[in-house]
């Protein structure tokens, strides 16, 4: 799995960082999403996919 984001779209909801803190963080200055691990381990895949679906602005893209 490969995770990418488009920070321009990010609305700073923080949902991803709250639900999968192992993979997503938030830049404290710009308040936009940060990817901490671009290739998350298999154990996190379901949660990463759920976070991508729940993102209010479709900022997160997941490729398998």
């Amino acid at each position: 799995m490969h995770v990418s984001v488009d920070p321009e779209k990010c609305c700073s909801s923080g949902l991803c960082a709250l639900s999968v803190p192992e993979v997503f963080g938030q830049d404290e200055r710009e308040c936009v999403v940060l990817v901490l691990t671009f290739e998350p381990p298999a154990a996190l895949h379901d949660r990463v996919r759920a976070a991508a679906r729940r993102c209010p602005t479709g900022t997160i893209e997941v490729r398998d």
């Binding site: 700073s12 909801s13 960082a17 803190p21 938030q26 404290e28």
Partner: protein, 380 residues
């Protein structure tokens, strides 16, 4: 489409369930309605199309154009103020200034404070003789103290802006001046600092408006949702018992109570269509008012099977009560935290909680922009 427009918002006849109109609304993708202002608008009724509309740049939050539809006839400095209802990129600039207060880390860091306030309020509640209005005794003071702490509104002032919007406006003007002299470690002081840098990122007017909005939206909406959630649980005793027996269900239960909420409607979601768009085969002409009906999306049977059933164990939690797209509710994470902490503590400390009046006697507010119940008498 039906030819004679319905009136929106729909009336909520029963505390325990949604209006009849909302049950059948999704038979048509687009429904024409008349708003309290007398202006017309189109409702978008289905989940997928609502999500799409909320991210469509041709559907604008900024209604500062001649002939744009209005929600009500009432105009105030704060609501329906076109100078602050921006679209990206101005909106993005504004939003990021304030999002700092609501980052995941900051919100999670508030959990101990929210817990402490919750326990204190419940201790006071249990000393009183029922029936007690749960909104005034618990939901409102909890959410008020949390947002006031975040903004830097001193506890002694917390009764000073509850009367009217004008009072809140005046109060906030004084507080901004006081904070300019004596800043603290709070959101208002941080925003004043941004404004005072005078690089055009935040005008004095925007500063004033946004502080009032954060204050009012920060407690009324969450208190309203807490009241709605409690009413839903008390009118669905099987779900109440299920949750009381398994507090691990609290986060899922909060999402389901938000999805099924019986407190609100989407009048304030009114948008302006800035170019012809097509929704479900219907062309919506440029200049029309458009309302993505979030409560309808949340009852969409293609996304939530058996949507009218309250089921706190539901797996699919992609409800739209906090909207979606660039205007997604900035306080969503904080609201979730407050609702989770409050419900868990309420069920633990007041396990025999019940309504003190028949559900049919609970009354919603009359004014179209005031959501939720007027009062919520409970006993235990």
């Amino acid at each position: 489409m039906k030819s004679s427009p319905l009136h929106f918002p729909f009336e909520w006849p029963a505390a325990a369930g949604p209006p009849e109109a909302l049950v059948t609304l999704r038979e048509e993708p687009v429904v024409r309605v008349t708003l309290p202002s007398g202006d017309e608008a189109f409702l978008v009724t289905r989940y997928e199309e609502i999500r799409r509309v909320l991210s469509d740049p041709r559907v604008s939050r900024n209604r500062d154009r001649p002939g744009a539809p209005r929600m009500t006839e009432r105009k105030t400095k704060v609501f329906q103020n076109p100078r602050i209802d921006r679209d990206p990129p101005e909106h993005t600039r504004m939003r990021r200034l304030m999002a700092k207060a609501f980052t995941a880390t900051r919100v999670e860091g508030m959990r101990p404070h929210v817990r402490r306030v919750t326990e204190e309020l419940l201790t006071d509640l249990l000393r009183r003789t029922p029936p007690v209005d749960l909104l005034e005794a618990f939901a409102v003071p909890l959410t008020l103290r949390v947002i006031c702490g975040l903004l830097g509104v001193p506890p002694r002032d917390q009764g000073r802006f509850r009367g009217s919007l004008d009072e809140a406006w005046r109060y906030m003007g004084e507080l901004i001046e006081a904070k300019r002299e004596d800043p603290g470690d709070d959101l208002i002081s941080a925003l004043i600092e941004v404004h005072d840098e005078d690089d055009g990122r935040l005008s004095a007017h925007e500063l004033h408006v946004w502080c009032v909005i954060l204050l009012l939206a920060g407690f009324e909406t969450t208190a309203t949702q807490l009241g709605s959630g409690v009413v839903l649980l008390l009118t669905h005793p099987d779900q109440f018992e299920l949750l009381r027996g398994d507090p691990a269900l609290i986060p899922d239960a909060v999402e389901e109570l938000l999805r099924c909420q019986i407190a609100g409607h989407s009048l304030s979601m009114l948008r302006l269509v800035t170019d012809d768009i097509e929704i479900g085969g219907v062309t919506i002409p440029k200049g029309s008012g458009l309302i993505p009906v979030l409560e309808s999306a949340n009852f969409d049977e293609t996304v939530f099977p058996d949507p009218l059933r309250l089921d706190i164990t539901r797996v699919n939690k992609q409800h739209l009560v906090f909207s979606a797209g660039p205007h997604f509710c900035m306080g969503a994470a904080l609201a979730r935290l407050e609702l989770q902490v409050a419900l868990e503590a309420l069920m633990r400390r007041v396990p025999t909680l019940r309504l003190a009046v028949p559900p049919g006697d609970l009354r919603h507010h009359d004014s179209p922009l005031d959501l939720g119940f007027r009062e919520l008498p409970v006993m235990w």
